[in-house]
C-alpha cells in the first residue's frame, strides 16, 4: 500500500506565529510536506480565532521568504470576487514558482455576511452577487481556473525584431456567465507551471462540490474527500488515503504542529519532494485547456512602425 503524504492545516493564529518567526519558517521550509493550508479555519466552519491574516498576505510572505514549502491560500466569494481571487492566485504562483494553490470555501468565518438577497459578493455594493452556497463557491473555482488559463504562458515571445512581446491574439475572453458574469481575460499570464491547483473542503457528503463537465476541483480535503483532516493529538486515520491534513487547534502552537509532523513523517507517512510545483508534487493531471472556440481578446499583433 502506498504511504499517504502529509499536509498541514494552519489556523489564523498560526499564520501570525509562522510568518513572524524566522526559525519556524526555516523549519517549516525544510519539512517534506505536500502542502500547508493557510487559514483552514476561515472556511471549515470554525468560529473565528482571536487573530488571523488574509491568506494571500501570508502566502506572499512564504513565497518571498522560503524556497520549498508549498501552500494553499483559503478564499471564498463571500466578500471577494473571482476576478480578484484569480489575480492573487496567479500572482502567488508566479512568485512562488508554482508552489501555491487555492482552497475555495463557501463561507468566510472572519467576514460579515453581505446583504440578504446576495450575501456572496453583494456586500461590494456594485449590484450583482449570489447566494452563499456551494454552487457559488464552485462557480468561483471555475472562474478562477478559466481566468488563469485565459492567457497562455507560451504566448510571451519577446521578439525584438518585430517588436512583438506577446502574441496577444492568443489571449482569450472567458465569457463566464454563472453566479458571476466575467468577460476576462486575466491581467497576468498563466503561470509557467500551469494553472494552480484548486482544492475543495467537504467534511460530509452533503458538502461535496456540485460537479459538472467542467470540474475545476483537483482535490477534495475533509472526511468526504481523498485527503482527510486529522486534529493534532488524534491518531492518523485507518484506511487508504492519498494524504492527510494534520490540523492544529488554535490553542496549539506551530511548534507543536511541526514537531508532530516531524514524528509522522518519520513513521508511516511518505515524504514529498522538497520544493517544486504543487501540481507535480501531488501527481495531479494538468487541467483541460479552454475550448478553442473562446473569443480572442486582442488582434493579431503587427510588426511596428515609428512615428
Amino acid at each position: 500500500m502506498t504511504k499517504p503524504y502529509l499536509a498541514l492545516g494552519l489556523a489564523g493564529p498560526h499564520l501570525v506565529e509562522l510568518t513572524t518567526s524566522p526559525s519556524l519558517l526555516s523549519r517549516w521550509d525544510a519539512l517534506p510536506l505536500a502542502f500547508s493550508v493557510l487559514g483552514i479555519d476561515r472556511i471549515d466552519g470554525s468560529a473565528p480565532a482571536p487573530v488571523t491574516l488574509a491568506s494571500s498576505a501570508a502566502g506572499a510572505t512564504l513565497a518571498g521568504s522560503t524556497k520549498h514549502g508549498r501552500f494553499l491560500i483559503a478564499a471564498t466569494p463571500q466578500r471577494d470576487h473571482p476576478y480578484n481571487i484569480a489575480r492573487r492566485v496567479a500572482s502567488l504562483s508566479h512568485l512562488s514558482g508554482g508552489r501555491s494553490g487555492l482552497l475555495i470555501g463557501v463561507r468566510d468565518a472572519y467576514a460579515p455576511e453581505g446583504p440578504k438577497d446576495a450575501p456572496a459578493w453583494g456586500g461590494a455594493g456594485l449590484g450583482g452577487g449570489a447566494p452563499l452556497n456551494a454552487q457559488t463557491a464552485y462557480d468561483t473555482a471555475r472562474a478562477v481556473r478559466a481566468l488563469e488559463q485565459s492567457w497562455p504562458y507560451d504566448s510571451i515571445i519577446g521578439n525584438r525584431e518585430t517588436g512583438i512581446l506577446v502574441e496577444a491574439n492568443r489571449i482569450v475572453h472567458v465569457d463566464i456567465d454563472n453566479s458571476f458574469s466575467i468577460a476576462g481575460p486575466l491581467n497576468a499570464p498563466e503561470p509557467e507551471t500551469g494553472a494552480s491547483v484548486i482544492a475543495w473542503y467537504a467534511e460530509a457528503p452533503a458538502d461535496a462540490p456540485p460537479v459538472d463537465d467542467n470540474n475545476p476541483i483537483d482535490l477534495v480535503l475533509g472526511g468526504s474527500g481523498s485527503v482527510p483532516i486529522v486534529v493534532l493529538g488524534d491518531e492518523p486515520p485507518a484506511g487508504a488515503f492519498a494524504g492527510v491534513v494534520l490540523r492544529a487547534g488554535i490553542e496549539q502552537s506551530v511548534n507543536d504542529l511541526l514537531s508532530a509532523a516531524e514524528r509522522w513523517l518519520a513513521d508511516g507517512f511518505a515524504p514529498t519532494s522538497l520544493g517544486g510545483p504543487l501540481r507535480a508534487a501531488l501527481n495531479l493531471p494538468a487541467p483541460e485547456p479552454l475550448p478553442s472556440t473562446a473569443r480572442p481578446a486582442f488582434p493579431v499583433p503587427q510588426p511596428h512602425v515609428s512615428l
Binding site: 502566502g59 518571498g64 508566479h94 460579515p112 488582434p299 515609428s306
Partner: protein, 429 residues
C-alpha cells in the same frame, strides 16, 4: 521665499512594470518574461533600498490592456507582489494600488492590514477609482459608474476601511450603514508596526483632491509645470487644514517620467532610441485617451484646433484623467505646437506626468528647485526603463542629493509613516 526650506525630500519609484516606455522590454538585460519573474521584482526592492528610497509604487487595475508590444498593462496583484518583495527587503515603503470600485471594503481592509503587518509597517494603499469598460465587464456591469458616483463610493469605501483598521486595534465591532456599504463586524488582523497602512490618493480631479485633503497621507499627483504644482500643493494642503489636519500630515509627490544620461545629449539619445523602438500608434492612442478626442483624425502637421482644447462636454463620461487632461491642455496652450511636434516633444517633457530628460545633476537641480519653491514634498520617479534606470537614480542622483543635504545617508526610520514624518515639513504659505 525668505526662509529656505530645510529637511529632506521624499523619493519614490513608480515601477510601471519594466519602465514607462513601451520598448523597455527589448533590452537584452531582461528575460522575455521578466514582468512575472520573482527575482526581477525582488531586485527592484533591493536596489531601491540601496538608495535608501522611501517607497516603491505599483499601479493597478482589474483589467488587461493589449500587451502585444508593451509590458505595462501586465499586472501581478500588488499586495501579493510587494508582500513577496517585503520578504527580501527591510526598510523601503511598499505602495500598492487598489480600486475602490472593484473591491469589497471588508476584504480590502483585511488584506491591506495583513500586508502592512507582514511588511513590518511599510505598506500603503493607493486609492484609485478605476476607469473603463473592460474593468467593468470583469465584474458583471456594462460600464464603470459615473465619475461623481465613483468618488462618492470611494469616500465611503475609505471611511469603511479606516473604521475597520481601527476595529483591529480596539477589538470593537464596526457598525457602518451608508449609501453603498453595510458592515457589522471587525477585523481580527493584528495592527502593524505603523498601526495601519498609509493611504495614498492618486489623480488630480477636484473630487480626488478633496478626498486626499480629508483622508490621504500621500498624494501621487500629476503636474507639468512648477506654477501649477505650487497651486495644487497649496490647494491640497489647504483641504487638509480645512479638515482639521496639519498640512504636514499629507505629503505630495508628483510623478516624474525620467530618461537619464551622463550628458544631456546621451539622455536624449536614450530617450529617442527607446521611443523609436516602440510603436507610433501608442502616442496617438495615448493622446486620444488623455484628451478625450480621436487624435488619429487630427492633422499631424497642424496645431491643435481650438475645439479640441476647450472644456469637456461631459466630465462624467470622460474616460481619461481630468488632472492629466488639465496638465496637457495647459502645456499645449503654452507653445501651440503641431500635433506631430507635440507628440515628439512629450518625449522630453512628459505626458500628463511631467517628463525630465537630462543628467542626474540636472535632475537634482530640478528636484531642489521644485522643493524650495514649495511645489512638492518629493517626487515619484518613473524611469523610462527600470532595469538600468533605477541604478542611475540610486548610484548617481541620490549621492548628489545627499551632498546637497536634500536626502538622508541611511535609513533613520523604520516604517513608511515614519519615513514620511521624517521628511521636510510643509513650508509656510
Amino acid at each position: 521665499m525668505t526662509n529656505k526650506r530645510t529637511g529632506h525630500v521624499l523619493l519614490g519609484i513608480n515601477a510601471l512594470v519594466l519602465g514607462y516606455l513601451p520598448a523597455a522590454w527589448k533590452t537584452p538585460l531582461l528575460k522575455k518574461d521578466a514582468f512575472i519573474d520573482p527575482d526581477y521584482w525582488a531586485n527592484i526592492g533591493k536596489a531601491a533600498e540601496r538608495g535608501t528610497l522611501d517607497a516603491i509604487f505599483l499601479a493597478d487595475g482589474p483589467l488587461l490592456g493589449d500587451p502585444a508590444y508593451d509590458a505595462n498593462p501586465i499586472r501581478l496583484e500588488p499586495t501579493v507582489n510587494w508582500g513577496h518583495v517585503a520578504a527580501e527587503t527591510s526598510h523601503v515603503g511598499l505602495v500598492a494600488t487598489a480600486s475602490s470600485t472593484f473591491n469589497d471594503p471588508f476584504e480590502l481592509a483585511e488584506r491591506f492590514l495583513s500586508f502592512d503587518h507582514q511588511t513590518g509597517g511599510r505598506a500603503a494603499w493607493n486609492v484609485v477609482t478605476t476607469r473603463g469598460v473592460p474593468a467593468a465587464r470583469n465584474f458583471g456591469i456594462p460600464d464603470v459608474p459615473l465619475r461623481d458616483d465613483r468618488y462618492e463610493r470611494a469616500n465611503e469605501f475609505v471611511d469603511v476601511v479606516r473604521a475597520l483598521w481601527e476595529s483591529a486595534a480596539t477589538g470593537r465591532d464596526v457598525h457602518f450603514h451608508g449609501d453603498f456599504f453595510d458592515i457589522d463586524g471587525r477585523l481580527r488582523v493584528p495592527p502593524s508596526k505603523q498601526g495601519r497602512p498609509i493611504i495614498f490618493q492618486a489623480g488630480g480631479s477636484p473630487q480626488g483632491r478633496e478626498l486626499a485633503g480629508r483622508a490621504a497621507e500621500g498624494v501621487f499627483a500629476a503636474e507639468l509645470t512648477k506654477n501649477q504644482a505650487i497651486e495644487h500643493y497649496r490647494l491640497v494642503k489647504g483641504f487638509a487644514r480645512s479638515n482639521g489636519r496639519s498640512p504636514d500630515e499629507i505629503k505630495i509627490l508628483p510623478g516624474l517620467l525620467l530618461s537619464l544620461g551622463s550628458t544631456e545629449e546621451e539622455a536624449r539619445r536614450r530617450s529617442d532610441e527607446l521611443h523609436d523602438a516602440g510603436p507610433a500608434s501608442y502616442s496617438i492612442g495615448w493622446l486620444s485617451q488623455a484628451i478625450g478626442v480621436d487624435a488619429s483624425k487630427l492633422e499631424l502637421d497642424e496645431p491643435f484646433p481650438e475645439e479640441v482644447l476647450g472644456p469637456l462636454d461631459d466630465t462624467q463620461t470622460f474616460l481619461g484623467s481630468i488632472g492629466f487632461r488639465e496638465s496637457i491642455i495647459t502645456q499645449i496652450r503654452k507653445t501651440n505646437p503641431t500635433v506631430r511636434d507635440y507628440l515628439k516633444q512629450t518625449r522630453y517633457t512628459g505626458s500628463g506626468h511631467a517628463g525630465f530628460v537630462g543628467t542626474p545633476e540636472q535632475l537634482a537641480d530640478h528636484i531642489e528647485d521644485w522643493f524650495h519653491a514649495g511645489a512638492i514634498d518629493g517626487f515619484n520617479l518613473q524611469p523610462d526603463r527600470l532595469i538600468d534606470g533605477l541604478d542611475v537614480i540610486v548610484d548617481e542622483l541620490v549621492p548628489i542629493l545627499r551632498k546637497r543635504g536634500l536626502y538622508r545617508h541611511q535609513y533613520e526610520t523604520q516604517t513608511l509613516r515614519e519615513h514620511f514624518q521624517a521628511a521636510s515639513p510643509t513650508p509656510a504659505f
